[in-house]
C-alpha cells in the first residue's frame, strides 16, 4: 500500500497550492499567554554553587547532591552533539535561569493551598486541577517551571500501592526506589543534554506500579513553562513491577516569547517481567513565530528498558511544537520475548526543525519492535526521522518492522530519513519501508467539490495520514491531538 501519490509522480504544485500552504502556516499559537505570578528564582548562570543551591532549595539528601555534582562536572567536559540534521543555535548556558518556582505556601497539600492564579492557568490550558472537574480516569501531575504544582487522585491510587507524585517528593519519601532506578536507563554520562539535566533537574513525575497491579486510571503530567529566561529540566521515572500495567500521558505548552527557551528533559522507564508501560506525549511547546523568532529548544532523552521477559514498552508521540526538537524515545529489549513500539507524528511548520526517531536495541531472544513514523512538513521547516535498529549477537529471532512516511506541504520544506540498521545475528528479520508524498491537488479538489474548504480538507487529509498513530493514543488525547494537527497546519492551504 502506497499512501498518497509519490512525490516524483505528482509535481503539480501550482500557485494555488503555495497559497494554501502559506495560509496553513499562519495560525496563532493559542497557549502563548503568561501567568502573572510571582516566582522565586535563582540568578542566571550555571556553576557548582547553583547546583548546590538547587539541591538545597529542594531539601535533598547528600547522595542526590553528589549525583548532581558528578553530572555537572562531567557536563563541563562535554560538547554539544552535532550529528543531528539541525541548524543548532549557539546556546549561552550562562544566560539561563536554572531554577524558578511560582511562589506559594509550601508544602502543597490540598487544592486550597494552590495559588488561584495557577489553578486558573491550568484551567485555561484545559487541565482542571480540581478532581471533581477532571476527566474521569485521568490523574494529573501539574508542573510549572521548576516545580510540581499539584498531583491529583494520589490518595485513591495509593490504596493500590501505586505511587504517583512529583519527583522531588519521591526523592524525599521513596529514596530507595529513586536511588535504585534513577540513572539506570539514562546514565548521567549518556549525552550532553542528559548530563545537563542530571545536574540541574528541578521536578517531574514519579510513578511506581507494584507487582500485579493494573493502574486503574491514565496518569498524566502536564508541563508548563511560564517564567522568562528559564530553562525547564524535568525528570520522569516510571517503574512497572512484575505484571504491572500503566498508561502515562504527557502534555506541554509554553508562553510566546521572543527569546528561545531551553527544555532538556529525561524520561526513564523500567518494565519488569510481564509488565507493560504505554507512554504518550502530545508536545506543543511554543514553536516560535512565523519568522522563526523565539520558541522552545526541546532536547529530550527518553528511554525505556524491558528488563523482564515478555515486558512491553510503547512510545506514542505527537510532536507539533518547539522551534527545535531533538528526541529519540528508545527501547532496550533485554528480556526475552519483550516488545518495543514507537509511533510518532511530527509536524513542522514555518521555521521549525525536528530531528526525531527512536532506537530499538534488541538484546533478548524473540524480541520484537515496531516503528511507525509519520513526518509532516510545511512552510520552511525541516523534519527528519532518525532511527536505529540494533540486533545484538544473542538476540535470536529478533524482528523489527519500520515504516517511515513523510508528507510535504509545499516545496520549500524538507523531509529526511536516516535509518541505521546494525544486525549481528543471522536469524533476525528487519524490514524498513519509507515513502514521501505530497497532498495532491486532485485530493483537495475532490474535497472542495464535496463542499469542504481547502483548510478543512488539509486537516482531514493530514489526520487521515496520521491516523495509524493517533489511534494509539488514549481517547481523550486522540481528540486533542487531532485538533492540534489541524491548528498547527491551519493556513498551509488557501
Amino acid at each position: 500500500m502506497v499512501p498518497f501519490i509519490i512525490a516524483e509522480s505528482h509535481e503539480i504544485m501550482n500557485a494555488d497550492q503555495d497559497q494554501i500552504i502559506s495560509q496553513v502556516t499562519q495560525t496563532e499559537y493559542k497557549y502563548g499567554f503568561v501567568t502573572d505570578v510571582e516566582s522565586d528564582a535563582l540568578p542566571k548562570g550555571l556553576n557548582e554553587d547553583i547546583v548546590r543551591q538547587i539541591s538545597e532549595i529542594k531539601g535533598e539528601p547528600d547522595w542526590m547532591l553528589e549525583f548532581r555534582l558528578k553530572a555537572y562536572r562531567y557536563w563541563t567536559t562535554m560538547k554539544l552533539p552535532e550529528w543531528a540534521h539541525l541548524k543548532l543555535p549557539v546556546i549561552d548556558y550562562q544566560d539561563i535561569i536554572y531554577y524558578s518556582a511560582p511562589r506559594s505556601r509550601q508544602p502543597l497539600g490540598s487544592l486550597d493551598e494552590v495559588d488561584p492564579e495557577l489553578i486558573e492557568t491550568f484551567n485555561k490550558l484545559g487541565i482542571p486541577l480540581d478532581e471533581q472537574k477532571q476527566l474521569a480516569g485521568v490523574a494529573v501531575d501539574a508542573v510549572m517551571d521548576s516545580i510540581s504544582v499539584k498531583t491529583t487522585f494520589r490518595d485513591a491510587l495509593a490504596g493500590q500501592g501505586i505511587i504517583f507524585c512529583s519527583f522531588s517528593e519521591a526523592v524525599r519519601e521513596h529514596p530507595d526506589l529513586v536511588k535504585k532506578y534513577m540513572g539506570s536507563v539514562v546514565p548521567y554520562r549518556d549525552n550532553f543534554f542528559a548530563s545537563l539535566n542530571s545536574a540541574v533537574f528541578s521536578d517531574g513525575s514519579f510513578v511506581f506500579i507494584p507487582k500485579g497491579v493494573r493502574c486503574p486510571m491514565e496518569l498524566s503530567t502536564y508541563f508548563r513553562i511560564n517564567a522568562a529566561n528559564t530553562g525547564q529540566f524535568e525528570r520522569t521515572l516510571i517503574i512497572a513491577e512484575e505484571g504491572a500495567y500503566v498508561s502515562y500521558l504527557e502534555g506541554c505548552t509554553a508562553p510566546k516569547r521572543d527569546k528561545n527557551q531551553l527544555h532538556a528533559a529525561i524520561v526513564e522507564i523500567i518494565a519488569h517481567t510481564d509488565a507493560e508501560v504505554k507512554y504518550s506525549t502530545v508536545q506543543n511547546w511554543y514553536p516560535g513565530d512565523r519568522e522563526g523568532k523565539g520558541g522552545i529548544y526541546n532536547f529530550v532523552t527518553k528511554r525505556g528498558i524491558c528488563m523482564g521477559d515478555r515486558s512491553k514498552i510503547s512510545w506514542t508521540q505527537v510532536e507539533t511544537g518547539s522551534a527545535i526538537t531533538w528526541k529519540y524515545p528508545s527501547c532496550i529489549l533485554r528480556g526475552d520475548h519483550s516488545v518495543g513500539e514507537f509511533y510518532s507524528v511530527a509536524v513542522t511548520n514555518n521555521h521549525q526543525q525536528a530531528d526525531t526517531g527512536t532506537k530499538m536495541i534488541h538484546l533478548g531472544k524473540n524480541t520484537r519492535s515496531i516503528i511507525v513514523s509519520k513526518g509532516i512538513s510545511a512552510g520552511l521547516s525541516n523534519n527528519s526521522y532518525r532511527g536505529l535498529v540494533r540486533v545484538s549477537k544473542n538476540a535470536d529471532h529478533a524482528r523489527n518492522f519500520s515504516q517511515c512516511d513523510s508528507l510535504l506541504l509545499g516545496d520549500r520544506c524538507g523531509a529526511h530519513t536516516f535509518p541505521y540498521i546494525e544486525v549481528d545475528n543471522q536469524s533476525a528479520v528487519v524490514e524498513h519501508e519509507a515513502t514521501t508524498s505530497k497532498i495532491g491537488e486532485d485530493q483537495i479538489f475532490y474535497c472542495n467539490q464535496r463542499g469542504i474548504d481547502t483548510e478543512t480538507a488539509v486537516g482531514l487529509i493530514v489526520n487521515g495520514y496520521a491516523r495509524e498513530v493517533l489511534n494509539k493514543l488514549p481517547m481523550e488525547f486522540a481528540v486533542e491531538a487531532q485538533k492540534l494537527l489541524q491548528i498547527t497546519l491551519e493556513g498551509s492551504v488557501g
Binding site: I12, N448, Q449
Partner: protein
C-alpha cells in the same frame, strides 16, 4: 408561485464559455441551457473536452476560464469558490474518483454534509441521524456496508468507486448533478444499479447532466436532450434519437462533418 419566480429562470446557463490549460484552449465557446427537471446528455469522442467542461463548472482551478459567462440559479457561477458551488448544490461525479488514504468515508461524508448545512444555516446533523441517512442512501446504490468504514475510494474496485460517487450524490442531494462517465467500466448489472439510483433521486426541482461515451447508459437514464461535444464546441443538439444516430454512425460522422 411568487411574483419573483413567475419568470422561469434556467438553472444553468452557459454562454460562450472558453477555457484553457497551460495556454492550450480546450473549451472553445460552449453554449448550453439546463432547466430544473431536465436530463441532458453530453456525448463526444475522447479528448473533446467533456471532463474539462465538468471540471470548469465545478470550479477546478487548474483550468483557466478565458471567456464567456455561466449563470447558476441566477448567480455568477464562475466567481464562486469550488466548495461554495458544491454547497449551492452542484455535484460532480468524477470520471476518476480520487483516493484519500486514512480518511474514512463516514468522516468524509459527515464533514461534507455538515459543511453544507452550516453554509445553509442549518444545525449540524447528529450522529444517529447521520448514520441512519448513510444506511438509507447506501441501500439506494447497493453499496456494501463495510465500504463506508473504509478510506475514501482507497482499495475500491472500479465499480465500487462509481457506486460510491452516486452514494455521495444521494447524501448531498444536489440541485445539479454532473455525472462524468459514471457508466464507464461498469458491467450491465452495476450500470442498472447506478442508473436506478440516479432515477430515484431525480425530481422536478433538480437537473442532471450525464456525460457519456456510449449510448448504453441512456437506455436507463433517459435524456431530454442530447448534445455532441467535439473539439471544445457543442456541434449538435437534439433529443434522445441523436444518441442512437451517433451510436449507429460512429464519431467519424461528427469528425467528417466538422
Amino acid at each position: 408561485m411568487s411574483a419573483k419566480s413567475s419568470i422561469p429562470q434556467p438553472m444553468l446557463e452557459i454562454r460562450n464559455l472558453k477555457a484553457s490549460i497551460d495556454g492550450k484552449e480546450i473549451l472553445k465557446g460552449i453554449n448550453l441551457t439546463v432547466n430544473a427537471g431536465e436530463v441532458h446528455a453530453i456525448m463526444g469522442p475522447n479528448g473533446s473536452g467533456k471532463s474539462t467542461l465538468a471540471a470548469v463548472l465545478a470550479g477546478r482551478e487548474v483550468f483557466e476560464v478565458t471567456g464567456g459567462e455561466v449563470t447558476y440559479c441566477g448567480q455568477d457561477l464562475l466567481s464562486m469558490a469550488p466548495e461554495i458551488r458544491a454547497r449551492e448544490g452542484i455535484f460532480l461525479g468524477f470520471q476518476y474518483p480520487v483516493e484519500i488514504p486514512g480518511v474514512s468515508m463516514v468522516n468524509f461524508m459527515r464533514t461534507a454534509v455538515n459543511e453544507k448545512r452550516k453554509y445553509l444555516g442549518q444545525p449540524e446533523m447528529g450522529a444517529a441521524d447521520f448514520l441512519k441517512l448513510m444506511r438509507d442512501r447506501k441501500a439506494l446504490v447497493d453499496l456494501d456496508t463495510s465500504l463506508a468504514n473504509r478510506s475514501v475510494n482507497e482499495g475500491f474496485s472500479g465499480g465500487e468507486k462509481k457506486r460510491n460517487e452516486i452514494f455521495q450524490m444521494a447524501m448531498l442531494e444536489p440541485k445539479l448533478a454532473i455525472l462524468d462517465e459514471t457508466d464507464s467500466g461498469l458491467d450491465i448489472d452495476a450500470l442498472k444499479t447506478v442508473a436506478n439510483g440516479v432515477n430515484r433521486l431525480k425530481n422536478k426541482e433538480n437537473a442532471v447532466i450525464v456525460i457519456t461515451h456510449y449510448q448504453r447508459l441512456l437506455d436507463y437514464i433517459v435524456p431530454d436532450f442530447v448534445h455532441v461535444l467535439f473539439d471544445g464546441r457543442i456541434v449538435r443538439s437534439g433529443d434522445k434519437r441523436l444518441a442512437f444516430e451517433l451510436e449507429e454512425k460512429g464519431y467519424d460522422w461528427i469528425r467528417e462533418a466538422n
